[in-house]
Every structure is written in structure tokens, then in C-alpha cells.
Assembly symmetry: C2
Homo-oligomer: 556 residues x 2
Amino acid sequence: MPYRAPVSELRFVLDHIVGFDRVAATDTFAEATPDMVEAILTEAGKMCEEVLSPLNRAGDITPAALENGVVRTSPGFGDGFRAIADGGWIGMSADPEYGGMGLPITLTMAVNEMIGSGCLALQLNPLMTQGQIEALEAHASPEIQDLYIPKLVSGEWCGTMNLTEPQAGSDVGALKSKAEDNGDGTYAVTGQKIYISWGDNDFSENICHLVLARLPDGAEGTRGISLFMVPKWIPDADGKPGVANTLKVVSLEHKLGLHGSPTAVMQYDGATGWLVGEPHKGMAAMFTMMNNARLGVGVQGLSVAEAALQHAIGYAMDRKQGKTGRDADHILEHADVRRMVLSMKADIFATRALAMDCAVSLDMAKATGDAAWKARGAFLTPIAKAFGTDTGIKVAGDGIQVHGGMGFVEETGAAQFLRDVRVTAIYEGTNGIQAMDLVGRKLMDRGAAAFALLDEVEAFGNDDLTTAATHLRKLTEWMLEQDMQDRFAGAVSYLGAFARVLGAFYHLKAAAAETTRAPLAAYAAGRMIPEAMAEMAKARTGAAELYAVSTDVIAA
Amino acid sequence: MPYRAPVSELRFVLDHIVGFDRVAATDTFAEATPDMVEAILTEAGKMCEEVLSPLNRAGDITPAALENGVVRTSPGFGDGFRAIADGGWIGMSADPEYGGMGLPITLTMAVNEMIGSGCLALQLNPLMTQGQIEALEAHASPEIQDLYIPKLVSGEWCGTMNLTEPQAGSDVGALKSKAEDNGDGTYAVTGQKIYISWGDNDFSENICHLVLARLPDGAEGTRGISLFMVPKWIPDADGKPGVANTLKVVSLEHKLGLHGSPTAVMQYDGATGWLVGEPHKGMAAMFTMMNNARLGVGVQGLSVAEAALQHAIGYAMDRKQGKTGRDADHILEHADVRRMVLSMKADIFATRALAMDCAVSLDMAKATGDAAWKARGAFLTPIAKAFGTDTGIKVAGDGIQVHGGMGFVEETGAAQFLRDVRVTAIYEGTNGIQAMDLVGRKLMDRGAAAFALLDEVEAFGNDDLTTAATHLRKLTEWMLEQDMQDRFAGAVSYLGAFARVLGAFYHLKAAAAETTRAPLAAYAAGRMIPEAMAEMAKARTGAAELYAVSTDVIAA
């Protein structure tokens, strides 16, 4: 069952659900005309179908490997990467001054969705580079921008993010890597970093590591952290890769999935680096990189969900078992298989609309500078990340189930989707961290962004939906009155409820726009609204109830 | 984090939740005194901790392999199997006349839980043998019983189930394997069978395949199927393994998990077999084997959930990240990690109580012949299978999440639990099939068994629980008025709702029995009841809504 890029579905979401025309109406993004959008999605989709999708199994079967200190990538990945780079897809949203296309992030996300459906392990590479480009555009010196960004946009060089250390995961502030001023404009960076996605490869000329480390006078915690550009090969006077930097890949992780993506332990031994942004302000720069990467990871969940759904439908329409009492005897005509497939399809539509809605907000914020758009995008980002990746995991699991016994056999490919997507709920901040961000930082506006979204939902005028939105409004008010521990106790359920209310909203909008979508929308809303109500009940748990079960009882 | 057998927890469930004393009060099971139960659970638990649990990783890393037509099992599995056999754990519930202990199936399930927590891939072997023993006790001729059952009970020989063929999975009636009368009391069995768990091994003297095949005069569909005992080595006049039968392992599947369990494609080429039961009545015999195996597979979900929970708690209490604002800084003190761990713990308690409740019903039915007990056990079996395995998958997933990035790294072991348990929702009848059995066959009593269970729940007298039970009663009445397709459309949600209402009931009973359990019970009921309400809303979907989304739209 070959992957087919969902170009018309993406167009429908852009045109009828998330109001992409408003983005195209801005001066900043005036080039993003409907014809341009169609051309981009069609061209990118073709590459994903023809070049990337065929690589996906090879990456799983023949993982990236460390040989004599150098990473050998999976078969065909070099060609796949070149196709992505040559298509201009890495730097779609980058500044045209550096070779980018200056297009909306919404279109980057749409293209990323398809690339990730084709081959998620490979897509993680340009996703990291895209984040690095944004961080450099926002924070680096003109010299660094001029040298690095064009190479990153063209794909000659690749970018990585180096945050985590063994003792510093979700708690980034606990990191121990150090940087010392060499007195010549460079710094000596020393430390070990783990979970470095695409820490090395054999298809790019250079690898540009953005590394968080602490200067000698840096305070403890996140406030004393600085960001450094530490390239694998130190650029010479002509900007070509010169001598080797004092850094190395120590080992690669043996992972549940994403075998084609080398996850490195990196060692920096006084490696030469350049400061990016102000001293001690590294976290702000890193957040720039991570923020859009969070949406990008949510889209990875969508990517896998779409690929898994297509795979499952292909199987279900081929596999015959028993009498269905309907025209055809393939298993898609059996009620419970159909239920699974419709649920997958419903969740995918909601996830795609949510991701694109978030991206449109980010684009509108950039184009207009409007604080309300910015707040809307910031509020939707953790929801898009967590719900997108949860959907990826759920849909991949349902995809296995649709395959029956064949789903457990690796050759089918159904299991790979689950193995690959599982990490998306963990990296770029676990989904629990996303939920805490939502009920903490994202409610610091006293709920303004949340209430504005609920205004939109209620204005749509569907009774059941409005009832759910009203409950969610009351829950939001309740959250605002709680201390942070109580909010955290219900955070994941609050996020889950918000995602489902929005999901039902998008579906009902779709039904209003196109009558053929009404049946799926009715089915989706009939699931998402009751589920949202259940999540809302759970969201009011409160910390006291959690800690009433003592640690001794838990460990007994 | 070594596995610790939850002996006292099992005792609590038996004594305070499912009324095991009623089983022990019957003549049939008079030996199952509290002292006997304690001794059995303690002894079996010790073996699981010390012998089986250490094998679990080895089975994953070094899968069973086919070498020159013979299966070489994973390192240590032969010793592990011998420990299980020598402990008498295979034939705990088998007839003492054949060397069994004649103990309640409830105790077999309790011991099976611990064996599966220790090493699920290995546990699948005796589980298949246990099912075969039951089928032979109920349906085989005295000659076959006398020859085979003692060897199966002692573990000298192992048993397998051969149902599935490439075109006949959930639709067993589509099988093509044939059997012809040899005229000497034996039959020549020919055909290919797939997904044969433990189709071969290198640690038992003989392997006894129960094979479904069709006699020349067998009707089409399930009504024309007969069951045959087809041993790997044909027993000689002394009952010792003699000449090789004409059967072979063609290949082993490369699976997502359970690598230590060889899943074989078996080829029978006129292999010598003996009829078990009446001609054309093979499905009835197979159902005997499958029925308790279904409960056994539900318990497998529980096994993995318990092991994954212990593993996650061990990690969470060791891992320090950030400030928790509480006494300790390990991540179990963070609200969202605690939420995950409590949810895991709550679901496991409910799953264990459900499995044991079902087992007690089966034992009481056997001991008393009472039709109400029989119906109760039959109603609970598909719920225990589906909810148990869904819980295994969910808890294993949460276990990965608790580990953060380490959860995606195979060395941690968290991912193996998910890979291993995933198939339990598929084999012995997919969870969708279980749900269809529940709303179809198990409501053929016009809801009597369902209503009797809801009477028990309502009699407990908790207001929230009673409200949920009343809704479930109305939903059951609604189901009884629908045609089968409409029932099937809501079957999985109906089962999910029933499981959660029962789960909340068990928890509240636990709180009433032991006040230290009240906090977890409150937390559990506060989740399960709203979730049950959501599932009940979804259960009323109806087939029309499912098929309103046309196949063309799905495939578009």
C-alpha cells in the first residue's frame, strides 16, 4: 500500500477550517497564493510518495550505525535528504536573504507532515535544522547568520540541538557542560550531551551543533546557561569546513523505533564554539528553537497517524474474513473494523486542523505583530504537540489492531509506525510537560487566550459543542483559582479536553463547509464531546487526591 | 528493579473482593484452604522472582530461532520451563487422576499472573498446554486422556493450538486443512497452519498439536470442522515418543515482541492424527480450550501491567529532576508522574479483581453446576480478556512515559513490555471479537447475566456508582432492542463501560474493606466512572452512523 500525499485534504483544512486566506492576505506572506500553495503541496507530496516513502522500511531494518567514530546512515537516506534539500523544503520559511523562501510556517508544517509520513526517521533531520535556522535568525550575530544560515537552508550543512545531559532532562537547568572564553571571540565547550538526534551523518558537509553550556560566571539553574554554535568541522577563512573540532560521537542509542535516525551521545572536549545571543540568555534562544519544534513534533504524530491509517485501510480493503452482510466481504465492512478506521480518520482530521490552526496563529503573529494572535499560537502549541503525538500513538496502535495477527508481524510495517512514533510523546518536552505549560505559563494571561478560543467555539452555534465549551470555560476558571500543584494534577486531562472540544469544532466546521463531511463530523463529535466531558471531570482531581496515596503505599 | 511477586495483593483480592472463600467452601475445592493458597502463591512467586524474571530480557535479545528445521529456544528458557513444570504449576487445575492438583482455576490464574510477569514469552507455553489439558479432559477418548494428559501435566510434553490459516483468522470456518480416515483409528491430516505459538521447542520430549481440519464429509463453515491430536513424535506401544510424524515447522515469524516465543508456520503432510471428540464437533472442543485461554490472555495483560508498573516505580523513585516542593526530589513526587503511576496502579487493581472475579465464577460453576454462576463467568470472560489486555497495553505505554527518554531506549526494558503485550489484544480472538461476543452471544439470555452483575453493583450503595450502573442497565436494555449490527457498532464501548463500572465497584469494595485503600479507590472511581459515562454515550452510535461514512469517502 504505497503512501499517497493528502494534498486535497490539506487544502481543505487550509481553505475551510483554519482560514489560511488571512495569512496570504498579509504583506509578509503575499506570495502564498492559492496557486502557490497548490504547487508546493503537489510537488512536495510527489517527492514524499516517490522518494521518501520507499526508504521507510530500510531505515528500520538497517539502522544508522557508528563505525570507527563516524555515523553510517541507512540505505538511501543520503539521496532522500538530498531530495528534501534540493526541493527547498528545509528553508521554506527561512529568510529569503539567506536563500529561504520566506513562506508561512503553516506551509512548512503541511510539507513536514508529508515528509514525516514518507520517512519519519529522516524527517527528524531537517526538523532539527529548521529549528536551528529560526534560533540563529532570532539570536545569532550577523557573522554567524551569514556563515551558517545559507548552508543550513541549502542542506549542505545540518543542525542539531544539544540540551539534555544524563542528570538534566526535563530539568535543563541542572546541566553541567561548561564553556570558557578563549579570548579570541571563541569559547571552549566541554561536556557530555545525550539524546542528540542526528548527532552525526555521512551525507552533509558539516554538522552544526547548538550546545547549551554554562560560562564560569553563569548562575545555577536555567538563568546561567548560554548557547554556543559548535560545528563538527571548524569553518576556514572561506567558510569551508576546515579542521576537525574536538568533539565526537561516543555511541548511538539502541531504540524502540526511529532506527534510521542516529541518536547520539556527544562528547565535547574543549570544542571551539561561538556564542549565540547574549551570555546567560541561552534558554531564551533555545526556546525559540524548541517552540516551533514542538509544533513540528506534534505534526510528526500526525504524519505517522496518516501513514498508519492509509496502511490500515489498504489492508482492510484487501483482507476478506467472514460474511459482512454488506456488498463487499473485506473487513472494512465489519462494524468494529469500520469503527476503528473512522476513529482514526476522525482523530487525524482534528489533529491536522489543530496543527494548522496553531501554525496560522504563529504566521499571523509574525505578519501582524498582534499580541492576540501570538497568545493564540502560544496556547495552541502545547495542545498541538501533545494531542498530535497522542493521536499518532493511538492511531498507530489501532492500525496494528486492524491488521489482526499480521499487525504483530514486523514485515507488515504496521508495528513500525507504533515503534517510530512512540518517542514523539517524550521528546521536545514530554506530553506531561506540555500540559503543565498549558495550565501554568499559558494561563498567566488569566485565561484570556483560552477564553478567546472558547468564544470562537461557542460562536459556531452548535448546542452540544457549546455545552462542552461552557463546561470548559468553567473548568478554566476553576484552574485559575487553584495553586500550581492542583493545576498540574489535572493538566493532562485539561489539555485532552481542550483538544477534543477544538477537534469537534473543526469537524462541525468541516460539515458546514462540505456536506459530504457531515457523517464523519457527526461521528467525531459524538465521540469527542463525551470524551472531553470525562476529561473535564478528571481534570478537577487536585493534588491533595494524588498525594493522599502515600509514596509508601505506591512502593509497597 | 527486580520483580516482586504481589502475593499479599493477590490474597487481598481473593479474600476481600471476589469472595474466594465461597470456592474453598465447596466440596470440589475443599483443599484450597487459606494456608494452601498462601503456600502456593508464596512458592510460585519465589520461582517467578528468582528463576523466570531474570530470563525475560534474554528472550527478547536472543529470540527463538529455526535451525535446520528445529527450534532453538532462548537462553535459559529450558531451565525456566522445567522450574514451572517441576513446581506442578502447569497442571494445578488438572484432574488429580492424571497427576494434576485439582485446584481452582482462580489459583491457576493467580499463579499464571506471576509467571507472566516474570517472563511472558515463556508463560505462553504452559498457557497453551493448560488449554489443551482442559480440551482433552472434556472431549477426548479415555485412551487419549490416559496417554497424553499425564505427560502434559508433568511438562514432559507440551501442547499447542492449531486454528488459524492464512485465509482463516477470525473466520475460523474458512479453514482448508483436511483429514482423511486411515481406516486404523487414525487420520491423515494435511494443511498449513499459521501463528502457532510454541509450535516447536528444544526442551520437551514431544509436542502435541491439536489441529482443526475438515473430514471429507464435513460441511462448509464451522459446523464441518473436526479436532485432531497430531503429535510431533508418534507414541510407540509404551507411550514413548516413537517415529517422527509428517509435520514440520516451515518458518518462524519476526514479531514486534514476545521474541522468546516461537510463532510457527506449521505444515502437515498427511500427518497421523487421532480424532478428539465427535466428528464435525471440533469447534465445540476448541471453544473449551479457547474459553479459559481467553481469561488466561486477559491475565497476561495483567502480568505485563504489573511488571511494567513495578519497573516504572523503581525508575521514578531513583530518578531526580528539578524541585518537587515535597520531601523527596525523585520524579514520583512530581504531580504528573504520580498521576500516571496512580492510574497504572488503579487499572491494575481493577484488572486483577475482574480476572479473579471471573475465575471464581468459573470455579463456582464447576463446583456447584449452578447456571447463574456459569452465565456470570461467561459474561465476565470477554470483559476480562479485553480490558485486561487493553490495560496491559495502556500501562506499558505509561511505563515508557514515566521513563522519559530512557523509555525509548531498549536497554531500559520499559519498551519490551509494550512490544510483548501488544499481541494480547489480538490473539485468542481480537478485543473487537470479544466485544461482539459480549453484546451478541452473552446477551442472548436477554441480559440476565448483565443485570445480575449490575444488581451486585447497585447493592453496594455508592451513589455515583449506582448512577453509573443505572445508566449501564438502560444501555443494556437499549442494546437488547437493537439488531446485531447496531450492537456491534457500540460493542467495544459497551465492554469498556462495563469494565470501568466493575472496576470502580471493586475499588470501592476495597476501600470499605481496608481504609488505607480509600485514597486510591477514590482516585480510581473518580476516573473510571466519568470514563464509563463517555463510553456509554459512544456505545449508542449504531451501525447507520458508521456506514453513513461511505467506503469511497474512507478510501479517498
